[in-house]
Amino acid sequence: MNQLDLPILTLLTFLPAIGALFIMLSNKEGVAQIRWMALVISMANFICSLPLFFCFKADYTGMQFVEKVPWIKEYGMTYFLGIDGISLLLILLTTFFTPICVIACWKDVTKKVKEFMMCLLLLETGMIGVFVSLDLFLFYIFWEVMLIPMYLLIGVWGNPARRVYAAIKFFLFTMFGSLLMLVAILVLYFYNHSVTGEYTFNLLKLYELNMPSLYQTWLFLAFFVAFAIKVPMFPFHTWLPDAHTEAPTVGSVLLAAVLLKMGTYGFLRFGMPLFPVATHQFVPLISILAIIGIIYGALVSMVQKDLKRLVAFSSVSHLGFVVLGLFALNIQGIQGGIIQMINHGLSTGALFLIVGMIYERRHTRMIADFGGLAKVMPVFAAFFMIVTLSSIGLPGLNGFVGEFLILLGTFRSNVVYAVFAATGVIFAAVYMLWMFQRVMFGEVTKEENRHLKDLSLREIGILASILIFIFWIGIYPKTFLSKTETSVTHFLTEFNKKYEACIQKEKNYLVLNTSEELMTKK
């Protein structure tokens, strides 16, 4: 269904890429012009994405704004785009954050501005592409394409000392998972062919496939590794602190705000509905990893000395919540997971912006180098406080809604998980507030900190626009929850239906087999 009769998703996806092309053709020296171009393009993209939100039919279960053009016919690849409630918010998050990033790096990035803006816009193309593709092949392409600009952002504009290491680690780590996924996609594709006789990468068609559980287990595992790395879940997380720490501010922002969501989105869009039996099998494992992630991330970030690293580890903790929620496999958990993806994007994105702002002023990210900033920069302190609280999950701000729904969902499916996960709430307060205290409170001990400028209007504007959503989701989350509800409900019914069907099929198969065995024995 495409209620707009416009290829709006294509527009959204490729507008930034075209913009990047224009920037490429523009004069390298006209830095201001390039910045404005990037801003205009990203803003235009954001504006283009608004119709998605307003024209989205919240009660329609299928895909919306669908575009489908055959691409590689004989092998069943299609250019198939469409969104539902699950992806809607993530797309908006992406289009929302890109202009913010453009503005945020206005003064920050002074060298190679042209290339920087190109990377940023190409990254946006990749990110949106991932969220709108409904064809596995297309999805995989966007999934990989997105790596390159991010890799360059980290590696070129990152922190000179270790940027290369971080960039390569990011790239290889992610690639490792996605390559396994590639094999799984191929297996799925050929399995589908062997069953239905049709070559297709169409996700909606592949949803209808009931695979034997052994297949599901392995394929799910392959997808799992890809997504778990992206999320990142507990033992696969070590690329994240490095990438975050070394990336330039907006790199970290986009990484946190959008890129990490791809893993969780992937679970929801691919991992779970394709392999329901395996999903059920792996719920304990994944939940436990998620819980370890929650607690581990929190504990480790508590003792970090570097602000960005701290926030990075806190992402591990927060994303643990999201994964836990998704694998609660009930509506609260998944709704919470989705909204928490947005929340984490907003609050952690904002946190990285904030860290970037003081980094820009002081050129250090070490907590020990700060202290007493609240006195010097009161406006900054206020923003920082609110974002910190949002990250902690203070009721009334966005974080709480997600966390509570997740915990509730988890509690319904498994009490023990919920109890352990809920301890994360305590730890979050500990490490965030301690960090806040060390940076903002106390006396100004360092001479350099005494004359720091408070936020400029530009910076206030950036943070305020994020804050609007932080409050909005906290106070009236219905705006967003209602958009996703139908899709999630539909997702769950389909999921359960398919699960039952798979199990039933398996049983029949067993019965068949045993009866055959009996026959042959006789």
């Binding site: 504990l299 203070l394 009490v415 109890v419 305590i426 307060a429």
Partner: protein
Amino acid sequence: MLDYVWLVPLFPAIGFLINGLFGYRLSKGFVGVLACTVIGLSFLTSVLIFFDLLQLPPESRSFEKIIYTWIPAGDFKTSVGFLVDPLSIIMMLTVSGVSFLIHIYSVGYMHEDEGFKRYFTYLNLFVFSMLLLVSANNFLLMFVGWEGVGLCSYLLIGFWYERKAPADAGKKAFVVNRIGDFGFLLAMMLIFVTFGTLNFHGVFGAAHHNNEVSTLVMTTITLLLFLGATGKSAQIPLYTWLPDAMEGPTPVSALIHAATMVTAGVYMVARCSVLYTLAPVSLTVVAIVGVATAVFTASMALAANDIKRVLAYSTISQLGYMFLACGVGAFSAGIFHLMTHAFFKALLFLGAGSVMHAMAGELDMRKMGALKPHMPKTYWTFLIATLAIAGIFPFAGFFSKDEILWHAFEKNTILWALGAGAALMTSFYMFRAVFMTFHGESRVDAEVKKHLHESPSVMTTPLIILAILSAIGGFVGIPIIKGANVFHDFLAPVTGGHVAGSVEVTLGNLAYASSSALSHGEAVQHHVGLEIFMMAVSLVIAFGGLGLAYLMYLKDPSLPRRLKEKFKLLYHLILNKWFVDEIYDFLFVNPIKRGSTVLWQFFDAKVIDGIVNGSGWCVKWTSSVLKRIQTGYVQNYALSILVGAVAIIFYFLLV
């Protein structure tokens, strides 16, 4: 007016927003006036609502106003909505009333402070959260207020963030509260899973009618809720943050850490009385924890020299009383004590603030003495409050405290005995404080002495009003006389009627009055004589404390020192707050910190990242080894071809 209940929290919210967003452009005077006005308006609205509520027959005094659906997710739906019933209106009145007075007081107290505007912003936010907490119609919204007040407490304790101690204290308060919230969160989930809703009406109605819910679940729910309450209301084992919270401005201590926020736990337990009565084990736990806290923290107050710390321990101790009341099933008694305590403890803190104001911020009672002539208004109001807290007839504390002790006695003599002991200590340390501060010899520094003065009227007026309330506030709940206990009658629809005389009114009218409570109430009726006796005992205890304090601090000032010598160990323990903070540090804080460091620097950096980097390193190493095969000698290459050929031939020959 009932329909406009949402105005009650809205006014402070407006004040908060205006002060927070535009405060930096407004004048100090305007900010102060605005802050007070909005709270005043809240109070007014509450009063109007109160009278509206009184118009209704007792059985229908429960009104829900739903504003909008807050979090919808499948079968889970929570709304932003308000509940007006006797319990919440009492809380609203108390909160907005006391807050109003303290706001006014603060205008004077904080006048010189740099963070004046910030202070009022926070304070408005606090009142908003607190009112939200008490007026919410469901657990989740209550939790919003619950965390909101915690946040404000954090912000206000750490108000003077440039010093380390307040900042630390603020963080500690927040984190410890979070531990409690952990329980609250889990309780909410369990409630939802059990009853399918978080709405008070829905939950209590279901709990009352649905007998299928096992006691175990009930007990778990209530214990988890109580964990939340121990955090917020500073009970064992989570009380440690409250003494530290005294680092905040004194009006804050008065408002948040004495009168309102810390009582949220009691309010919550009272609100959930239906659940608690269905879980006897929990009630017992509540009672034991309450009384233990009362005694334990009272003991700490005995030797404290910091006037605010004395008051802080006293607060914890009094909160323990309230929980004791709830624990023995006398929820309305708990609320009653909550209310009177709000009056006199706020007064005490404000008095202490006034003293500090005069003493240039000095808190150590050893450096005070004989302040009475310098600040008469402060002295007299402080004395009234002390009398009230000590439980001397006819001040407010007498009625409420006595009622609790009586109910405790009804339930269990040991509880009563401990409660009585705590009362003795209360009386002792409060009078000790009065004597050390206002009487005796002056130990004030010469420099400070010159500036000793009575506080301005903007500060003393609230003192006087509170003093009046502390003096007469108890009369709304006169025990014994049938029908005269207006307070309990009023509350009975919510908390269940336990008290003689009110039982008939409540019987059968209420959907969720607990039946077990009723039977309890009937039993009580026969003991009027006993009750009078108990009152007498209470009075004796109160005067005993007074006398002891007089003996030690006025009559024979050397006595304390001798006692110190004699019970060195005990004194040391008490002085150092039984080393509880240190024990916590040792048991939890330090291991976690150290463990985390190990996790990070060893496990994360060495093990996990080691595996990642190690595999990369392995490939590189293999690479550098394998490339040596490439010797550059053409004959080696030929040999390699030959080896390959031979291998292939033999592969075909053998396979």
